[in-house]
Structures are given as structure tokens and as C-alpha cells.
Amino acid sequence: MSDPQKNIDPAAVRSALWARLEGARGRDYWRSLDELAATPEFQDLLEREFPRQAVGWSEDEDPVAGRRNFLKLMGASLALAGMTACTRQPDEHIMPYVRQPENLVPGRPLFFATATTLNGFANGVLVESHEGRPTKIEGNPGHPASLGAADAMSQAAVLQLYDPDRSQALAFNGEIRSWGVFTGALRDTLAQQKAKNGAGIRILTETVTSPTIASQLRTIQQSFPASKWHQWEPAGPHSARAAAQQSFGQPLNTYYDFTEANVVVSLDSDFLNSGHASLRYARQFARRRRMAEHHDTMNRLYVVEPMPTPTGTKADHRLPLRASDVEEFAWALAISLGLAEGPKTGENNDIYKWLGPIARDLQNNKGAGVVVAGEHQPPIVHSIAALMNEKLGNVGKTVFYTDPVEANPVDQLASLQDLVKDLDAGAVELLIILGGNPVFNAPVELGLGSRLKKAKLRVRLGLYDDETSAACQWQVPETHFLETWGDARAFDGTVTIQQPLIQPLYGGRSALQVLQSFTEQPEKSPYDIVKGYWSSQHTGSDFEAWWRKAVHDGLVAGSALPAKTAAVRGEALSARAGGKKLGGKLEVVFRPDPTIYDGRFANNGWLQEVPKPVTKLTWDNAVMLSPATAHRLGVQKGDMLKLTYEGRTLQAPVFIQPGHVNGSATLHLGYGRTHGGRAANGMGFNPFGLRTAKALWQDTGMDAEKVSGNHEFADTQNFHNLETPDRRHIIHKADLADFHKNAEAPHEGAETPPKGLTMYPEWKYEGHAWGMTIDLNSCTGCGACVVACQAENNIAVVGKDQVRRGRHMNWLRVDSYYQGDANDPAIYNQPVPCMQCENAPCELVCPVQATTHSSEGLNDMVYNRCVGTRYCSNNCPYKVRRFNFFLFSDFDTPSLKLARNPDVSVRSRGVMEKCTYCVQRINGAKIDAEKQDRPLHDGEIQTACQATCPSEAIVFGDINDKNSRVSKLKANERNYSLLADLNTRPRTTYLATLRNPNPEIEA
């Protein structure tokens, strides 16, 4: 792909694009096949070659009627290409620009920098745009939180943008109204409020980091002194905020730097995969495990957690502890470090067994270690962690404090309870809810759904017409961040100015605009609001140049908050609670879902269908239990449990997760939506139904009893314990010490047939020879690559039932294998794309030469030649081929067609598909290089999975070029081929994974 950061004026291009897209809703773009799809001839063709019902699902396939249409919506379009091969094509039309914008070359993508936000925290991204259609999101290398990587959620934002279920019309009690009526109504109320200083005005937002919005709210505060601003974020860092107050007596923001950390202790923190800087952390962490040279060293990771997380899978020592015991662990560790007084033992020996070694390890690495407290742990754990970091001299080296990034770091729980109080008091006359979904995700005892009704006028700005909208009179469709201007701060305060890539598809307003309507110039455009704010902030000359650069770079240089020094106050460490007793009951643990988070992404097919890290579940949440606990409760996977906590009950299916701590049950939030959209509704169960203010994250004292009924999970991989020894040699692994002694240690017993061992003459690959290495030592199994692949290659979403039948389409999957005791196993992640075998078994058996080998060693798959015998898939030992059992791709929804990557064919029914090493990118780059008559340089081509991988585990390149990174890695001692003994000669190889256990503990 061409240089991501073209220096052009986005605004100009965009205005032109808008002109094009006006009214057309983007259907008439030049590669006018989408438009074609609407023409009668095409429909006829469709009828002729795919009788209407062809697109449906037989009751065998999909009992849930409603979802059916949606799922085909969620796929891709233009697929009939393959079919029409043998037919005369109907006329297509070309609609050229009237005035072509400069810099825009039809057929060449443009890239724009902006930022996605989660919990208000920004993550810089680059968005690829084809003729004004954002199609792909990748990380912004310049942005501190991203460093070029992007997580699954950020990437799936594209699909969210085009989601046909988004709220599309301004409505009052469900009836469509004009904007005039709305602004009118709003003005009247505001006029009344003006009199009483806005005493009846309440604004409820999610966490706000946006300087512009903050300033707007401040102005509102001035003009309506008595109005109140509340914040609620169900999965936000509540306890970290509280802890800051407790430990330092001031709100502080903490972040880490793992580049210098030799020893990392995670107190139930999934810092590699969740949190505001996880991408950055993952990269820094992985670099300390790269092992480029045989005698390099690695960092060492201790993880204490209830439920296995990607971070847990990377642990050199993973200690399954109940979430409520982590506090005791922290205490005991502090004591072992001599930072606190008290006994170093207790009932639960697990807590104490490794303290000595860990403490010594930390001692020996003063200033080069870090203790990370989990977001979901109570404030005291954070305080203790802070104390340890301070005393170990890590602050300023691996741990940093800054002023808070949030505009207003309040205790959000208190803030919400305060609002409820006012509601009960009937003091709320105008309630404005900006985003979020409090009715769905507020603590259950607040009963917000009914309480909201006590506010006189309720205005809701939201992407979806969801549970909260149902409780409000006005539903104001919100513009997606890719449709409007805005700004947000990253984990370290760095500001990104968000720029739109497309005219709002469904109209709508942004939070900026709603707040603006409180002011004198209510109609100011988001662009003017944001630009206005920053010009007011700007000191020094030439604001325009500054603005251009900020927008173009995707961040405001030097806007990061300066590091502060702060000392933990003595009184921070309140009394030690001691290990929690279960008393025969269970501990309940609430965690945001790994893919759909707190439910905000529940209607996103990509995120629903990407197998969740570790569990490999799709489209579902479950009661996660350890094998032992499941056995104790007498339940199997899929059995239903009746959970009772604080008098509230919930029925949910059991999922047995090896490595989960005993006596505890983890529930992932976000499922059980009722107004979430066609993909979200009816999926999973809703743990918010049990979640009270007292137990935002965990608490003991939950009862569970088996009830009748059984649930079918759609997980893409069953639990597989590797035979010990692993005779298939799937995962090559060794301990660091052994590896240092013997470079062959990871490959013990695995055999690779010598090159000569074949009856065939060698195929020579002159020119390029593409290859890939995947470093298992870096991979955290987060699944970002899977979504990247899906977005890049127009991979269809098939739906829960089809996934259950093993018909999921993801070209790239992340396998996880377990080893050892099912209750405390070692867990390994292994991403498996197509191996691009040189002796490809699949090619040999294809009767029609639909899959053959390219001169550069790619295992080509020609969809339009495929007749669908599926023999290739049978003969593929890696099972990386995916088959279109139905017409999975979409043909009807205009909005979804816009999401497609025009460089990749959309596959129709009955054809096989598979990973191609993103051949469209390879060819694109080759063509560019040839036009400039220069050789391709290493790293110029990045596959989608590689580009997005937070831990840089995937490296792609030319193995004929001896100096390319990939060739060097293939020369590394850790390099091995999967199932090498079959002599398929994969071009994709793996780097063995290493553990760096503490010798004291191993012994």
C-alpha cells in the first residue's frame, strides 16, 4: 500500500467526497458494482443464478429466525462476480466525479489519522479510505498508545460505522421528528432553566477526556451554575481513581514502561490485552522476549489472576487466585518485601507459596521491576502496588505518574448515585444522556430503567436505539467518530484531533453539537467547535500550520502530560483484611467481555465472531468455572446454573475453563442485550443483573445450583491438552536456561525431513519468495490479527449456529493448547494462517487447478475457478481453508457494501477461500515499486495481521533476500515448521516459545 501519511489537505478532499456522497449514500462510487447490484438486470441475474431462497437458511441451519437476514447483511457484497463468469454481463455504469478533488486518484486509497476511544481514552489509528469509504483501520505508528498496532475493538469500528442497526432517525417516544422540533423543545426547556440557573439540568456522560467537550461543559457550568454533570462508565478504572486519592491525596494517572522491566508482577492485571495502553505495553513487553540472539535474556512475568487472560498465558509463573484473595497476596508480598507488618501465612497456602522467591526477584531488580495492580482490584491493592513500586525504586523508571487524563476524575459510582438521589427527589427536569448505556449497565440496585422516568425531559444521544433510549423521550442519533470531528486524550494525556472520513451515513449529531446547543451559537459545526477551541488554546504563531500538522499526524505534539513525582501517604495502607472465606459459596467475578467489552460492541459481527482469547467462545458469555469447581457442582459444559447473589438470581450456562481458579465463577459483561440490534439481542445472558455497587468487580457469597436445560456454545476449539510429551510437536517450547545450554532444546524429538528427501526435482524460486515467521514467544493470543484479516479480506460473518457447525470463515485463527494439570495448566497460543506450503497437499488434489502455486511461492486460491469439491480442505493438514457452505456474503445492504475492500474478491456460495498472505498488498507494493523502477525494500509489504499485531509476533517478507527480517528470523535457532514431518515445507514458520521460570520456584 502507498505511503500511509500523504501530506494533503483532508478537509478539501472530504468536502469533495461529501459532494459525491450527498444523497447518493455512497452507492454511486466509481467501481460501480455496488450500484449495479441495485439494477434490475443484476437482480434478474441474481434470481437466475441464486433463487431468492438461496440466500436464506434452512430451519436446520438457523432456528433463530430474526437473525438470519442480519447475518447475511453482515457479510460482503459483489460476490456474483464468480458466477457471472460464463454469462454475458449486464451493463454497468460509471459515475465520474463532476469536479475531481486534487490528491484523490480513483483506485488508490488514502489514509487519514484519527483516534478511537474506549472509556474516553484515545488510541491513535490510521483509516484507509477508498473513494471516501473508510474500509480499514490500522494503528498510527506515531501515536504513543498505538505505536502502529490496533486492537480488535478499534478495527471493528469500521463495521460499527456501517452497521444498518444504528439509530437512524431523530425520534420522540419512538416517533420520527424533525431537528427543528427537537432544538425548539430543547431551547424552551433551557430558557425555563435559565431562570433557575439550570437547577433542573443534569448531564450524564461517559468518562470525558476530550478537552473541547470539557470546555463546553465548563461554559455550560458558568451559564447554568446550578446544573450538574454526572459521569458513568461501567468498566472504567474506578478503583485506580479511588486509589490515587487514597494513596497520594490527589487524583493521579499511573502508567508503566516495560522496556526496562526485568521482573513484572501482575496483580490480576491483564495489562497486555486490556486497559488504555495495552497495545503499547504488549509491544514493550514482547520486545523483552524477542531473543534475537541465542544468549539474549528475557524478562520474567508473575501473574496472579482468577481467570486466564492473554497476560496469564504469557506468565512464567501463573498463580490462579480468587480475585478477592489478590488483596491478601498483595499484602503478603508487601510484608515479604518488609514494607508492612504481619504474618506471611494463612489458610490458603497458594497465596503464600511463592512470596519469598518473587520478593527476592523484585529486590534483585530494584528499579528494573514493576508491580501492576489490576484495574478491577480494590483501591488498597493499587496502594500497596504503588508502595512497592516506590520502595523498589521503580517510580520514574518503570512506573510514571501524571495529572489525571480525564477532564473530571470523579468517583463515578458516587456521581451516579448522586444523580439517582436527585431523580428520586424529582429535582431533574432536563436529563441529557450523552452516549453510554446506563440503563443497561448501571449497578442493578439503582434500577435506573424505571428511575430515569422521574426526569421530566429526557434526551438521549446514542449510536443505537438501545435500552437507555427506551427509557428516554428523545432519541438523538449520534454520529460515529469516523463521521465527525472531535478530540480525545490518550493514556499519557497525548491529544488526538479526530477527523471525519465520511459524511454521516444516517444524519445524526455529535456530543459536541448537543452541548453546543446550550450556548449562544447553537448551530456551530463540530469542525468549527473543535478548531475554535484549539485556536483559543493555541499560543504562538501560524495556527493553521499547527492545526494541519496536528490533524495530519493524528496527535498534538508535546501534549503528553509531564511526569509527576508523588509519594504514597502512610495512611494509605488501611487495615489488612486477610484472606476471604468462601464458606461453601462461590466467588463471583465480573469482567468486561474480551471482545464486546461492556456490551457497546454487542451488535458488531466481527467482534462477536472473533473467538475470544483463551476460551475460543463466540457469540456467547458463560459462567466460567474451573474443572474442579464444575465437578464439585456436578455440572458439565453447557449445563445451566442458577446463580443467586444478594437475593438476585440469574440462569446461565457453564463453561469449564482450565486454569480458572477454584471456588470462583467469572461472568463476562455485555451480553443479554434486549435493545442492542439484531446481532446483539438474545445472545448470552446479562451479568449486570447481579452486579451491584458493592460488587462492581468481585465479591464472595454467590450461590450456584444446577438447573435443567442445556446450552449449545459456539466455540471454535475444544479444550486440548497436549500429550505429554507432545508427540505431534505442535508447540515447540523450552525453559530459557535449557535453551541457553542447548539451542536445540525446544525442538527435542521433532524431526524435519532433509531438503533432499524427495523423489521430485526441486522447484526453484527466483525473484521474490514470500515467507512469514510467527514468534510464539511474543504472541499473546489477543486476536487482533483475526479481526484485521477479516476487515482486510472481506471475510463474511456466518452467525452463531454456523460457527457451532464449524463453518466459521476466519482465515487466520489463534489456537490455544494446554499442558499439565487441567486446574493449573500452562497455556500456549498459536496463530495459524495458511502455511503456503511449497509441497502444498491442497493443490495436488484440486481437480480444476483452482489452487496452484505462484512463481513467488504463494499458494494461490482462485475463487472464480473453484467448483467446491472441498478436497483441498480435507487434504490440508493445517485446516486453514474455509468453505462457503451458504451464500454467507451479503448482497442487499447498501451500507455494508461500503465497508468492502475493493482489492479483494468477495466470495460467493460454494467456493473455498483461504489466507493469501494479503496478496493484494503484495501486488500493490510490487506494482508501485516497478513503476518507480526500484527494488522492493524489506518491510514495505505488511500483511494485515502483521501490521496490527501489538506484540510484533508476525513478520512477513522475502526469504530470498538474506538480509530481510524474515530470513534472519528463519535462521534463528527457535525457528520451526508446524507438522514438519509431513514434508509440506511451509513458508510460514514459528519461533519456539520460551519460559523463564524462577529457578527457586521451579526447584
Binding site: 463468469a85 460509471i94 480513483p106 488508490r108 494461490d860 493484494q920 506494482i927 513503476k931
Partner: protein, 219 residues
């Protein structure tokens, strides 16, 4: 028993039996011809257009270079259809009132695109990149024919896979010096094969094996 059949039946049945072979053969031949026919490939058939734009007049007559309108042909996979603006560059002065050009002026006024009918339409699973072909010395004429003689645009080649392969298998038969890419009616100065081979080397055109690898055109 008496005869069931007349004497003629003999000849009849024999012809039927042994003739079947030839009948089948003919049917097969006919289908094969049809699939290559202009009817099927739509070659030489001009399409209905909103404005009867004549390449013959603009290219042949006025000698306008292809790239004046199809500006992106050297840089993009897609050789763009000119924006209305391009037409208006001249036609705001020349033929400024001609009724046939009304659609153009209307488009310019209303900012609505002109709805041209696509003439060269490859299947959607074929990824053809204009820029690389032009840069490697494949003349417009080679695929699009004598555009300068087409009052209404029509496809000149079959655009079928075997046709593409002809060139991808031996480019030397078709390439020309870059400076002549847009020339219509180009005549090689000497033996095409020989010049071709030189150019193939000079332009570093990939070998046939690479050019006929599936992913060169299909992704």
C-alpha cells in the same frame, strides 16, 4: 412372421446411429464458436451513452492525447473517466450551447455525475491495473484498438482469459517504447519480436511464469 420394417429402415437406422457422432461433434463446435463470438464477448458492439462522445473526433480528429482525459491511467489501477470539469474546460467555450452537450452542462450545474455506460467491463474477480501496463510499454491500442476510429466507443478485444494470456505468455510480441504508449496505429521500427525482447529486458518485465501465476490477476 412378416416383416416389421420397410426396406428403407435399414439405411435410416444406419445413418441415425453413425450420424449421431457427427451431430454431437457439430453441436460441440457450435457452442465453442459461440462462446468466442462477438455476441458473447460484446466486442465491436457500441453502447448507449448519455452523450454521444466520439473518440474518433477528439482523438483522431483533434489529436487529443488519451491522458488529457484519462489522467490516472499512469498512476492508478483505474483509468478514470474524466470528471465533467474536464469536458467543460473546452466546452464552456466551444459548442457551449450545443443541445447534445446539455447533459454535460447540466451535470456541471447540478453537481450530479454523468451516468456513462461501461464499455470495457472485466469480471469483478479480475484485477487489472492500468498503470503498470502503461508503464511497461503496453499501448492503449493493444487492448482498446483503434480508438481514434471509433465514433462511439466499443470494445475491440474479447477480453477473455485466453486473450489476456497471449500477452502475459509472450509480452515481447506486444510491448512498445513508453513514448508510443498512447500512439494510435503504432508501427514498430523494425522487427517487433526483436524490439520487444529488448524492451522486455529494459523495462524488467517479469517472466511468463510470474505473469501467468494466478494471483497476477485473481485475488
Amino acid at each position: 412372421m412378416s416383416q416389421i420394417f420397410r426396406h428403407s429402415t435399414n439405411t435410416f437406422t444406419r445413418v441415425l446411429l453413425f450420424g449421431a457422432v457427427f451431430i454431437l461433434g457439430f453441436a460441440f463446435w457450435a457452442v465453442d464458436r459461440l462462446s468466442r463470438s462477438d455476441y458473447n464477448t460484446r466486442a465491436t458492439q457500441s453502447r448507449e451513452q448519455p452523450v454521444p462522445f466520439s473518440h474518433a473526433h477528439h482523438v483522431g480528429g483533434l489529436g487529443v492525447d488519451c491522458r488529457y482525459c484519462h489522467t490516472t491511467v499512469e498512476t492508478s489501477s483505474f483509468a478514470n473517466i474524466p470528471p465533467t470539469k474536464t469536458c467543460m474546460n473546452c466546452h464552456s467555450q466551444i459548442w457551449a450551447t450545443s443541445p447534445t452537450l446539455e447533459p454535460v452542462r447540466e451535470s456541471f450545474r447540478t453537481n450530479q455525475s454523468i451516468r456513462w455506460t461501461r464499455v470495457h467491463d472485466l469480471p469483478d474477480f479480475v484485477y487489472f491495473n492500468h498503470s503498470i501496463h502503461v508503464n511497461k510499454g503496453v499501448g492503449c491500442e493493444v487492448c482498446h484498438g483503434r480508438v481514434d476510429r471509433m465514433p462511439l466507443m466499443s470494445q475491440s478485444a474479447s477480453l477473455q482469459m485466453e486473450w489476456c494470456l497471449n500477452c502475459h505468455r509472450n509480452p515481447e510480441k506486444y510491448v512498445r517504447p513508453r513514448e508510443f504508449v498512447t500512439t494510435m496505429g503504432y508501427e514498430p521500427a523494425g522487427d517487433q519480436e526483436e524490439i520487444g525482447r529488448k524492451l522486455v529486458a529494459e523495462y524488467k518485465i517479469q517472466d511468463a511464469h510470474t505473469l501467468t501465476s494466478c494471483n497476477t490477476c485473481h485475488r
